[in-house]
C-alpha cells in the first residue's frame, strides 16, 4: 500500500529516532512511503490560534500536493499533525464554499484540493490495512516479559468528530492491540488519554512537569516497564523533560518512553541502532535487557 508520507517537523528535529525507526519497519510491513516534498508545518494547533483559516490553507496545500502525487491517504507518524490535519480536512469537506475560498489561496501555486484525501496515523494503517495477523507473522522477538503502558495523548483521540471514532470505535484501543501483538502486556493507567503537558512546556513549565511526573509515576505504579506513544511531542516531554519532572517531584522515575515504531521494531528483532534506541534522554537499556533485544 502506497502512502503520501508526512513526517512532521519533530521527527526531523527533536526526535530523529522516530523517523529512523519508522523507516526501519515500514518496508517490512509493506508500507510504501512517498514523502510529500515541500509540505509545510500543519500549524500544530498553535498557528490556528492566530487564525483557523490560515492553518486550514496550509493543510489544504499539503493535501493538494498529495493529490498531485496521485495518492489518496496521507500517513502521519505524529498524532498531533494527524489530528490537526484531520480537523482541517473535516472543515474543508463540510463546506464547499469554504473549500473554494481556501483553494483561491492556493491557485497562485497552481494547486487545488479536490477533497479526496484521507488522513491516517501509522497506528491506524497498521491495524486497518496491514492487519494484526500480518504484524504478528513479523514478530520474531516477542516482548514477552514486558508490561507496556500505552500513552495516547490527545490528538489521536480528540476531538472525536474529526477522527472517525464513531465509525471506527476500535481506534480507541489500537495501541493496546498492537502491544499485545508484539507479545507484551498492555497496562491500563489513569493517564492513558490525558495531556502530556508539551503544549504548555514553554508557557507554564511547572504545570507541564507536574503532568509528566503524574503520568510516568502512575504508569510505573501500575506495573509498566515502559510507555509507548504515537506522538513525538508526547515523547519530547515524557522522555526529554522527565529528569526535570523527576526533580520537581523529588523522586527518581526512570520510565523509558518508546515511539510506536520502536516498540514494533523491537518485536521484529531489529537492533538498538536501527531503532535509534540510544537517542533517548531516559535510557532504554534496562528495558532492552529485560526484553533480551540485541543491544
Amino acid at each position: 500500500m502506497k502512502y503520501a508520507f508526512y513526517p512532521g517537523c519533530v521527527s526531523r528535529g527533536g526526535t530523529p529516532e522516530l523517523y529512523t525507526s519508522t523507516m526501519a519497519i515500514a518496508g517490512r510491513l509493506g508500507l510504501e512511503l512517498e514523502e510529500i516534498h515541500g509540505a509545510s508545518c500543519t500549524g500544530a494547533g498553535v498557528l490556528q490560534e492566530k487564525g483557523q483559516k490560515l492553518g486550514d490553507t496550509l493543510n489544504a496545500r499539503t493535501f493538494a500536493m498529495a493529490e498531485r502525487m496521485g495518492l489518496t491517504t496521507i500517513l502521519n507518524i505524529c498524532s498531533t499533525c494527524q489530528g490537526v490535519m484531520a480537523q482541517a480536512n473535516h472543515r474543508l469537506l463540510a463546506d464547499p464554499d469554504y473549500l473554494a475560498e481556501v483553494n483561491r489561496e492556493l491557485a497562485g501555486e497552481g494547486l487545488e484540493y479536490t477533497g479526496r484525501i484521507v488522513i491516517k496515523h501509522l497506528a491506524w494503517a497498521i491495524v486497518e490495512e496491514v492487519g494484526l495477523d500480518a504484524l504478528k507473522s513479523l514478530v520474531v522477538a516477542p516482548l514477552r516479559d514486558l508490561k507496556v503502558a500505552p500513552f495516547y495523548g490527545c490528538y489521536i483521540l480528540r476531538p472525536s468528530w474529526a477522527l472517525g471514532l464513531d465509525e471506527n470505535p476500535g481506534r480507541e484501543h489500537y495501541l493496546e492491540r498492537i502491544i499485545e501483538t508484539c507479545g507484551a502486556e498492555p497496562v491500563n493507567f489513569p493517564g492513558r488519554v490525558k495531556c502530556c503537558g508539551f503544549p504548555i512546556m514553554l508557557i507554564n513549565e511547572r504545570n507541564s512537569m507536574a503532568m509528566v511526573a503524574n503520568h510516568t509515576t502512575s504508569a510505573r505504579d501500575h506495573g509498566a516497564d515502559a510507555m509507548v506513544t504515537p506522538c513525538p511531542l508526547c515523547h519530547l516531554n515524557l522522555d526529554g523533560q522527565q529528569p526535570k519532572a523527576a526533580s520537581q517531584r523529588g523522586e527518581k522515575i526512570n520510565m523509558p518512553i518508546l515511539h510506536l515504531p520502536q516498540m514494533i521494531g523491537m518485536a521484529m528483532g531489529l537492533s538498538r541502532k536501527e531503532l535509534g534506541l540510544g537517542r533517548h534522554i531516559v535510557s532504554a537499556k534496562p528495558l532492552l535487557e529485560k526484553a533480551s533485544v540485541r543491544v
Binding site: V10, T15, E17, K50, R61, C195, N204, N207, A210, G240
Partner: protein, 320 residues
C-alpha cells in the same frame, strides 16, 4: 438488560477512603444511567447520594464520571456504556472535593465563574434611552457559549486544572468569552488583560478534553483559542504564551516549518539569560544523544517556502 453498576461510594463520616460498590440492576433498554442510579437508590440502597433534577439535560445537576469520562447521567443511555460483562463504572466528577458518593462540592466551579465577572458591563453611562441594540450577526457566535448549563463536566476532566487549581478552567473561560465577544460589553480590554495573566487563557493545555465531554456543544477550548487570538490582537503585554504563538508563526512563515530552538528561546524571552543558561545542561545532553537543539542558523528553508510565506501575507492582509 442485566447491568452491574459499580459506583464509587464515599462517606466522610464512616470511612476515610472511597470504595467501589457493585449493584445488580434489571434495567429496561430505554434506561439512562440516571434511571438506573435512581432505581438503585429507591429499590436497593437508599443511602446512595447523588444530585439530579430535570432528567432532560437542562438543569446540569447530574454530571458524573461514567467509565472515566464526565457525562450527564440523564442523557447517557445505559446500554451504550456497559462494557464486557454488562458492567459500568460510575464515579463523582473529578477535580472537585467529594462531599458524599456522587455529590461534589461546586464551590471551586462557581468561584471560577464568579471570578470572570459573568455579567454585562456596558460602557455608556448613562446608557441609551431604550435598550442596547445588537445586530443578530454580532450575537450569533455567542450562542454556543450561552448554551452552557453549568454542569461542571468540563471542569471535572480538565487536564490543566488537575495539576493547577489556579487555572480558571474551561467553563469560566467560555463564560468570559461570552462577554468579551458581546458588542454591548464595555470591559473587553480589562477582561482580556486579566485573562492574559497566570491562570488565564495561556494555561490551557489544548487537550480537547472539555470539547469532548461537554454535553451541550459549547466546545470551551475553541472559545479559549478565540480568546487567545483576542488577547494578542488587544495589544496586551507579551507573555510566554503569546510569544510562543508569534514565534511559531514567524518560523513557519519564514521557512515553511517549525524552528524548535527559536520557539523555546522566543517563548522564554531572548533576554531571559538565567532561563537560557539553566536549560544549557539539557541542551548538551540532547545534543550528545543526537537530538536537538539544532542551532537556529542550521534551520534551512523547506522547498516552496515562498508559497507558504505568501499564504501568511494574504492572511495578514485579509485581517486588515
Amino acid at each position: 438488560m442485566q447491568a452491574k453498576i459499580r459506583v464509587q461510594r464515599y462517606d466522610p463520616e464512616s470511612s476515610e477512603q472511597p470504595w467501589l460498590q457493585e449493584y445488580d440492576v434489571d434495567a429496561p433498554e430505554r434506561y439512562s444511567v440516571l434511571d438506573a442510579l435512581v432505581k438503585v437508590r429507591e429499590e436497593i440502597d437508599p443511602s446512595l447520594a447523588l444530585r439530579c433534577s430535570c432528567r432532560a439535560a437542562i438543569c446540569g445537576s447530574c454530571a458524573m464520571r461514567v467509565n472515566d469520562q464526565a457525562r450527564l447521567a440523564c442523557n447517557t443511555r445505559l446500554s451504550s456504556v456497559v462494557e464486557d460483562g454488562g458492567t459500568v463504572k460510575i464515579e463523582p466528577m473529578g477535580n472537585q472535593r467529594v462531599v458524599k458518593d456522587l455529590v461534589v462540592d461546586l464551590q471551586l466551579f462557581w468561584g471560577k465563574v464568579r471570578a470572570v465577572q459573568p455579567y454585562l458591563q456596558p460602557d455608556a453611562e448613562p446608557g441609551p434611552e431604550e435598550e442596547f441594540i445588537a445586530s443578530n450577526e454580532s450575537m450569533l457566535n455567542l450562542l454556543t457559549p450561552m448554551g452552557c448549563i453549568m454542569c461542571g463536566a468540563c471542569v471535572s476532566d480538565c487536564t490543566a486544572l488537575e495539576v493547577d487549581e489556579n487555572f480558571l478552567g474551561p467553563a469560566a473561560l467560555a463564560k468570559s468569552y461570552r462577554f468579551v465577544a458581546d458588542p454591548r460589553d464595555g470591559k473587553s480590554g480589562e477582561r482580556l488583560g486579566a485573562l492574559n495573566e497566570y491562570g488565564g487563557v495561556w494555561d490551557c493545555a489544548r487537550c480537547y478534553m472539555c470539547v469532548e465531554v461537554c454535553p451541550k456543544g459549547v466546545a470551551p477550548m475553541d472559545r479559549i483559542m478565540e480568546l487567545r487570538e483576542s488577547v494578542m490582537a488587544s495589544g496586551a503585554p507579551g507573555t510566554p504564551g503569546s510569544r510562543h504563538v508569534q514565534s511559531f508563526a514567524n518560523s513557519v512563515a519564514r521557512s515553511g516549518w517549525l524552528d524548535e530552538t527559536m520557539l523555546a528561546v522566543d517563548s522564554w524571552g531572548k533576554k531571559n539569560v538565567p532561563k537560557l543558561l539553566s536549560e544549557a545542561p539539557l541542551g548538551i545532553r540532547a545534543l550528545r544523544r543526537g537530538k536537538f537543539p539544532m542551532p537556529a542558523f542550521l534551520h534551512h528553508k523547506r522547498p516552496g517556502h515562498r508559497n507558504v510565506r505568501r499564504i501568511f501575507e494574504r492572511a495578514e492582509a485579509g485581517k486588515e
